[in-house]
Symmetry: C2
């Protein structure tokens, strides 16, 4: 539903960022390498809090075209780069839990979020 | 960035919902009338919490084509309807703060969020 023809700055305030802007934004490692981008974010239904960013590497760097959910706290927005920075390396993503975009993985009540939390050592959803 | 060709159920878990699914989802009043849809959501940069849903009425019901930011807490997801329900009426939206989609309103540091919070009597961002 995004319109990228305009100035992206309009999707952002000092405190807030639009889901439109988050989606498609690049993710960099701490060396400044462009690893991939954010496909979407997973939002807690009850607390309205972003729990996971779903990363897409588009087959770059040999990481494959699957979706990689990552705890939101593992990403930090960097205004200079205009994207998110993660402490994860390409090699760490290669071993991370990932899911077929066409499969029903989001809808599985158990499994993936625990696997993801364990892998990254962070909880996407506090208390779950 | 959304792919609506698949089963929408895959964008959802018991606890989480994808930004892909939120965007474009219908908003109903308490009578079940379809008022419009969610264009995007505004996420707090530091707390990762959804503060506002940006509604689009697409000119339906005489409400116009502007964007209407609404505090996220004013919407409740209803699984039966497969959309969000608000206690707001069409008439209340007609008088609500709204912004030109092509303008730089998101990026204004002051003004719109206070106007929106005042109108709906709710805070989009707690503590702001």
């Amino acid at each position: 539903m995004s319109d990228r023809s305009g100035d992206v700055a309009r999707d952002e305030t000092t405190n807030l960022i639009s889901s439109d802007k988050v989606e498609g934004t690049s993710v960099y490692d701490t060396q400044g390498n462009d690893l991939g981008s954010i496909h979407s974010v997973m939002i807690g239904k009850t607390d309205g809090k972003v729990a996971y960013a779903v990363l897409s590497f588009g087959g770059f760097l040999g990481i494959g075209t699957n979706y990689y959910p990552v705890p939101w706290s593992a990403l930090k927005y960097d205004t200079n780069q205009g994207g998110y920075v993660t402490g994860m390396t390409k090699e760490q993503f290669q071993g991370a839990p990932s899911y077929d975009p066409s499969a029903d993985w989001y809808n599985r009540s158990t499994g993936w979020s625990a696997d993801v939390d364990n892998y990254y050592g962070r909880h996407g959803v506090i208390g779950h």
